[in-house]
């Protein structure tokens, strides 16, 4: 029967092309608008570290001043001072741990005509790669010693390796950063989580960095951060060493703790560390720290803002308006077919059969509307990408999950729209239409 009803539905749509087009358009516009915003919301609420959500933690310590709390999540600074980060790195409790920050430099290739370019760089300890599960295309990460003492080694992103070396294995090749020669020791496979869960503080939708260099280079290269930094009192460092020892927070810190026991041990360690700092007259606030899983970190940093959520609801409300419009059109269309239904009833169709036939016709309209909606959403997202220049590139696109969601949404919308008209026609008096003409 389903196939029969589908054939009847398509014939019926063909018979009233304008009315059908209007209904399909109503569903398509509603679904298009809904899917544009829902896709943004969905992409913004993705968690690239979901598979390690139960072992990874962003570390926050309340190193802030006595007078007022910091503005970060949980009223704590969202980064650590370099000094604290160096101290935490001495713990051997975590499976892995990473201290890191954003940096940038002028990059040139040795003995090359290529013009210099400004490169985004991450300065990090070596656990960065395994902790965040970043795959290597060529070579490997640096040795443990490079986290402590300077080693001019660099890991390239796949995109940068393509740009500099046409994608060849560049391990062992020299590149020049701010005039210093570095040796390529590894090339990453494509890896660009969005939102950029490991660094939400410097732009949640920025691309991942093009180069990665060891954490042991600070003293030698006098590396300052290119990311956000903050302090609870106006401290102006007199020299580079002073900067490293200051209260300024600019280092991001993540740990990997394999189970509850390890987590407990690490919490003991952090408690002890803060107590020791207090003993030295630092950490004036009540003892407080926080370990946040990636999902929690995304939430407390409000990657998906309340405004975005609101926009999602508004788009759904707009879809509802479109559904109501489609209902009115369907009512017109179905009641026009009342005489035919009278005949079908006389020939043995039950009310249920008539109801199903019309609900399936609504569903066919929904299917067409869903396809139209996907096209509109793709156009809408493309427009958004143009407006936002770059930072939305990754999120303003539809994956197959969202495409299927669009179809499902359109089907639900059209069936909702069709319920009342289908009920009306299946419960209208059939004999009334069978009167002589």
């Amino acid at each position: 029967m389903l196939a029969y009803y589908m054939v009847l539905a398509l014939r019926s749509l063909q018979r009233t092309p304008i009315l059908s087009a209007l209904m399909v358009a109503a569903i398509a516009v509603g679904v298009g608008a809904a899917m544009t915003t829902l896709t943004l919301n969905y992409m913004m609420s993705r968690n690239a570290l979901a598979h390690k959500d139960d072992v990874l933690y962003a570390v926050q310590l309340d190193s802030w001043g006595p007078d007022e709390s910091a503005e970060g999540p949980y009223q704590m600074p969202d980064q650590l001072s370099y000094r604290d980060a160096k101290a935490l790195l001495r713990s051997d409790i975590p499976q892995r741990q990473v201290a890191m920050h954003r940096w940038g430099a002028t990059l040139t290739r040795e003995n090359s005509e290529q013009s210099p370019l400004q490169a985004e760089i991450r300065v990090s300890t070596r656990d960065f790669f395994p902790l965040f599960d970043i795959p290597f295309l060529y070579g490997n990460r640096w040795e443990q010693s490079a986290d402590e003492s300077p080693a001019r080694q660099v890991v390239l992103s796949q995109a940068m390796n393509e740009r500099l070396f046409n994608g060849d294995n560049s391990v062992g090749q020299p590149v020049n950063l701010n005039g210093e020669v570095f040796t390529v020791i590894g090339v990453l496979k494509h890896w660009n989580p969005s939102p950029k869960v490991y660094d939400l503080i410097n732009g949640a939708f920025k691309d991942s960095e093009a180069l990665y260099i060891p954490f042991g280079l600070h003293h030698q290269l006098q590396i300052y951060t290119w990311g956000n930094y903050d302090a609870w009192w106006n401290e102006i460092p007199k020299n580079y060493q002073d900067f490293l020892n200051s209260h300024l927070v600019w280092t991001q810190y993540w740990v990997e703790l394999k189970d509850a026991e390890q987590k407990k041990a690490y919490e003991h360690f952090l408690t002890a560390y803060i107590k020791q700092q207090k003993a030295e007259g630092l950490y004036p606030r009540p003892l407080k720290f926080r370990l946040s899983r990636p999902s929690e970190w995304l939430r407390v940093n409000e990657v998906l803002a309340d405004d975005d959520r609101m926009l999602g609801w508004l788009a759904l409300a707009f879809l509802l308006v479109c559904v109501i419009n489609a209902t009115a059109l369907l009512l017109v269309k179905f009641l026009r077919k009342a005489p035919e239904m009278g005949i079908r009833r006389a020939l043995g169709a039950s009310r249920n059969a008539v109801f199903s036939q019309h609900l399936i016709e609504s569903g066919c309209i929904g299917l067409l509307g869903g396809i139209g909606g996907i096209l509109l959403a793709i156009v809408g997202l493309a427009r958004l990408r143009q407006l936002q220049m770059g930072s939305l590139d990754q999120i303003a696109s539809m994956d197959w999950v969202m495409m299927s969601a669009a179809i499902v949404l359109a089907l639900i919308a059209s069936i909702l729209a069709g319920l009342y008209p289908a009920w009306r026609i299946s419960h209208s008096s059939s004999s009334a239409y069978l009167k002589t003409q």
Binding site: M1, G342, I343, R344, A346, G348, S430, S431, L434, T436
Partner: protein, 232 residues
Amino acid sequence: MLKMHKVRKSFRTDTIETHALRDFNLEVKEGEFIAVTGPSGSGKTTFLNIAGLLEAHSGGQYLLDGDDVSGLNDRQRSRLRNEKIGFIFQGFNLIPDLNLFDNIDVPLRYRGFKASERRRRIDKVLQQVGLAARAKYLPSQLSGGQQQRIAIARALAGEPRFLLADEPTGNLDSLMARQVMELLELVNDWGTTIVMVTHDPDLARRAERNIQIVDGQVADLEYHANPAALSA
């Protein structure tokens, strides 16, 4: 086949209540050909609709093949209608955008027959009404008499035992009306019980039995002889 005892039917609109049938008594035997006459608005169509399970009666008893139908739900009524009853209307009531083949296919679809069985039956009834060559035509491409023959073919395709015809010749000229009547007589000869409403006394006379409905009731045939009583 059909037995109605004190069947009532009333229609209620906002302001008035119409009693279309009151204390309606009738028995139809298997294989009969009955012609129903009566003034317009007397309840003939209402009777056919109730007999054909298209409408429910408001009171009294209706037995179809010995079974009381008043307790049946819409699904069961539709199933009985589909299997046992064929309808023919004055206005032909073919579905305009289905070709003749697909029109005849409609009741067979609801019956749940396989495609091959449907095709076999459609071909058969198209032969019987002499329009096999026009299977792909649309109803609008046929004359009135041809359309009514297709409507009869559609009613026959499910091999119903009970055919209800509401002024089947009302829209046809006398030649075509005679052809349709001959077809119905043939169908009756095959054993199908027929109840036909008609205004045409010549056609009515050809039926085995005549009944008259006046004011929602079966009138006595003696009554019929006295036209003065009719208008009273």
